[in-house]
């Protein structure tokens, strides 16, 4: 069936190819069904692309803006200023150890990391429709890059925190080493939700509408951002314990300010985060093969 290439000229090329042919990776394309495990090797090979996607989003966000990356600092500052103005008098009194604005800042930074990760990850596949329908790459990179972008915003916000701590006269203790753990729990929660939501949004654009609403309500369900949990009573405490974001936020603050950590809340949050991450990733992997057909 093959049509003859000129035998004389091509044979040497053929030989070379056959000689190196054994090194060439063989890709098998066939229908997969059911649950897929995550191909970490493939993800690792695509790490550069992940970096490029994050880099692209940073570049694009600040193109044609007057103050550029300063927005990453202004956003948490504005939230902190607003909350301090609204609640400083009421909520601040009981918490004399640190100024209320610092209390809110240490809650707001992880909260913005969480909301940034979830909302951007949820839209990541739909927003990259043009890529998804035109070229293959591990689809997981899209929500991952969205989370990566939020992490960079968070790190910029931490600069504000690093300036704020000495101003408030707070010196971090060795307990600050707990902060990355709390953030890991938070990120796992956000990524798990983001993965699930990004896959759902491909099929049901409803989530585009629902998500901002839920995120806004979520702030009231995570009062640890701006209130001391001691004020909620036993029932309220129990309810808040079930919120992994609350657990992560409270422990991030404890780590940074040297307050006693809430180990129980952190353990529960970690368990929930693990479940969310596994379920989110599994669902994403299950439906990603249909993205280009459905999107």
């Amino acid at each position: 069936m093959g049509i003859g290439l000129e035998p004389g000229t091509q044979s040497s090329t053929r030989e070379e190819l056959r000689a190196e042919g054994d090194d060439l990776p063989v890709t098998v394309i066939e229908p997969r069904s059911g649950w897929q495990i995550i191909d970490f090797r493939e993800l690792w090979r695509a790490r550069e692309l992940l970096m490029f996607l994050i880099w692209r989003d940073i570049k694009i966000r600040y193109k044609q803006t007057a103050i550029g990356a300063a927005w990453a600092i202004l956003q948490p500052l504005a939230m902190v200023a607003g909350l301090t103005f609204a609640l400083g008098r009421i909520a601040g009194e009981a918490n004399a150890a640190v100024p209320y604005w610092l209390f809110v800042l240490t809650g707001m930074l992880p909260w913005l990391l969480f909301t940034g990760s979830v909302t951007q990850a949820a839209m990541s596949v739909v927003n990259n429709q043009q890529l998804v329908t035109k070229v293959y790459f591990p689809r997981l990179l899209l929500p991952l890059s969205a989370v990566g972008l939020a992490v960079i915003d968070f790190l910029v916000g931490c600069v504000v925190l690093a300036i704020g701590l000495p101003i408030a006269g707070v010196t971090p203790t060795a307990q600050i080493l707990l902060a990355p753990l709390a953030m890991a729990v938070l990120l796992a929660t956000a990524l798990g939700l983001g993965l699930g939501l990004s896959a759902l949004t491909v099929r049901y654009r409803d989530f585009r509408v629902i998500l901002p609403l839920v995120i806004q309500l979520g702030m009231f369900l995570t009062p640890g951002i701006f209130l001391q949990s001691a004020k909620f009573g036993p029932l309220g405490e129990a309810i808040l314990l079930a919120n992994p974001v609350q657990g992560a936020v409270v422990n991030f603050r404890a780590a940074v300010l040297g307050l006693p950590p809430d180990w129980l809340a952190l353990a529960i949050a970690a368990a929930e985060a693990t479940v969310l991450l596994v379920v989110g990733a599994a669902y994403f992997r299950r439906v990603e093969k249909g993205f280009a057909d459905v999107i």
Binding site: M1, G2, R32, K134, V135, V209, D293
Partner: protein, 427 residues
């Protein structure tokens, strides 16, 4: 014998009318969609008649170094095959084994971002296409030189002309150097000189023992580049042979009358917001026989049936003939034509007759504009395609040379003041 690509029993099914097709952008749409879909999805899963097999039981092997053309009329399954091969969509059944890195160029500028500069897009696009950062850095100068946009490297590509954009995009893609290159014809855009450069690059790739799959409506390019050609029709392989044989089979498929009629009611390329007034289009030759294959210099008839659903129209029809790269070649409409003036018409068939189609051999597409007096009410892009084949238009036993643009204008020639030479003439 090693194979570069082994395709076995490949099938791909699409569910038509599936509730998830249409995009939803507004809250109202979203909510009403959510309400409806709760019921609709249960229905559509069961109905087999809404299944559409874009590919059914496709099998063929490609040996390393082959340049295989893939031809077929629109909807034959070419794009689906490419999408499955490049792992964008998953097959419903069957298996493909691909040996080596595969680069697919389904559309130029995939992942290009308008806000980013040319330089930034080279890196982003290269990475998306599968190049490593070091690879891109190594080839950067070559890519820039090939694209001819040196002076604008730090300008956002949204300020590029479309030609510059395409050149840069192709330049990145052309330097991918995969073992297997999948090329869609959209690559061959740009001016003639750049097209030659692109084709040269493809020959280069093939010359280095790499495998190329080339999808095109341009039979001249297929003949020139390919060592073998696969023709698809209705999702099946109907020919797998040398380019000449496969192209003949393809042209025979095009002459099939069913290709000459297109239902327009659910046309995917209808401009959003149009009233679906045009119901179907039929192409004919000058004798009125339905066909989508014309010989050079033949007449073309475009018959459009329309139904305004009770509206009283002053029907105006415009057609635009475009080449396979989407460039408009010529158009006509009856608004300015004397003698075509009808009022209070609600339905009918309008025929546009072009007495002599001034086109060179190749594939062409038609855009249709249906107007009510001066308002465009129904616009369909790429409504239907047709093919022009070479013919002995001068009756000289010779075929006019290709490669001097898509338009053919007949001319007569004369010689005056001829000085006859002294040398005895031959024969």
């Amino acid at each position: 014998m090693t194979t570069a690509i082994r395709i076995h029993g490949l099938s791909k099914r699409y569910r038509l009318g599936s509730s998830v097709r249409a995009p939803h952008h507004t809250l109202a749409e979203t909510v009403s969609y959510a309400l409806r879909s709760a019921f609709r999805r249960r229905e559509s899963t069961a109905s087999a008649e809404s299944d559409f097999w874009a590919l059914s039981d496709v099998s063929f092997d490609v040996t390393p170094g082959e340049v295989v053309g893939i031809v077929g009329r629109n909807g034959a399954g070419k794009s689906t095959l490419l999408k499955v091969l490049s792992r964008i969509v998953e097959p419903t059944a069957g298996r493909i084994e691909v040996r080596g890195r595969m680069g697919s160029l389904l559309e130029v500028g995939t992942g290009f971002h308008p806000e980013l500069s040319g330089r930034e897009n080279i890196f982003l696009n290269g990475s998306i296409l599968g190049m490593s950062r070091r690879e891109i850095e190594r080839k950067f100068d070559e890519i820039v030189a090939f694209s001819e946009v040196e002076r604008f490297l730090d300008t956002p590509v949204k300020r590029y002309s479309s030609g510059m954009y395409v050149r840069l995009a192709f330049a990145v893609a052309a330097h991918l150097e995969p073992e297997i290159l999948i090329v869609d014809e959209v690559l061959a855009v740009g001016d003639a000189q750049f097209q030659r450069k692109c084709l040269g690059k493809m020959r280069d790739v093939a010359g280095h023992g790499r495998t190329v799959l080339f999808v095109s409506h341009n039979m001249t390019a297929v003949k020139a580049l390919c060592t073998r050609c696969v023709c698809l029709a209705g999702g099946k392989v109907i020919a797998d042979a040398d380019p000449d044989t496969a192209i003949r089979r393809h042209l025979a498929d095009l002459t099939d009358a069913s290709a000459a009629t297109q239902d327009l009611r659910g046309h995917p390329r209808r401009k959003p917001g149009s009233d679906a007034i045009m119901t179907d289009v039929t192409l004919t030759d000058e004798s009125g026989t339905a066909t989508s294959l014309l010989r050079m210099g033949q007449g073309l008839g475009v018959r459009i049936a329309f139904d305004g659903g009770g509206r009283n129209l002053r029907p105006v029809l415009g057609i635009v003939v475009k080449d396979q790269y989407g460039a408009a070649l010529f158009g006509n409409n009856n608004r300015v034509v004397p003698g075509f003036h009808y009022e209070n018409i609600s339905a009918g068939v309008i025929t546009c007759s072009v007495p002599r189609v001034p086109l060179m051999p190749g594939g062409y597409m038609l855009d249709l504009y249906f107007g009510n007096d001066a308002d465009d009410v129904d616009i369909i892009y790429d409504a239907i395609g047709f093919e022009v084949v070479a013919d002995d238009v001068y009756g000289s036993g010779k075929i006019p040379p290709a490669a001097c643009g898509p338009i053919w204008v007949p001319a007569t020639w004369s010689l005056e003041n001829a000085g006859v030479g002294d040398a005895p003439s031959h024969g």
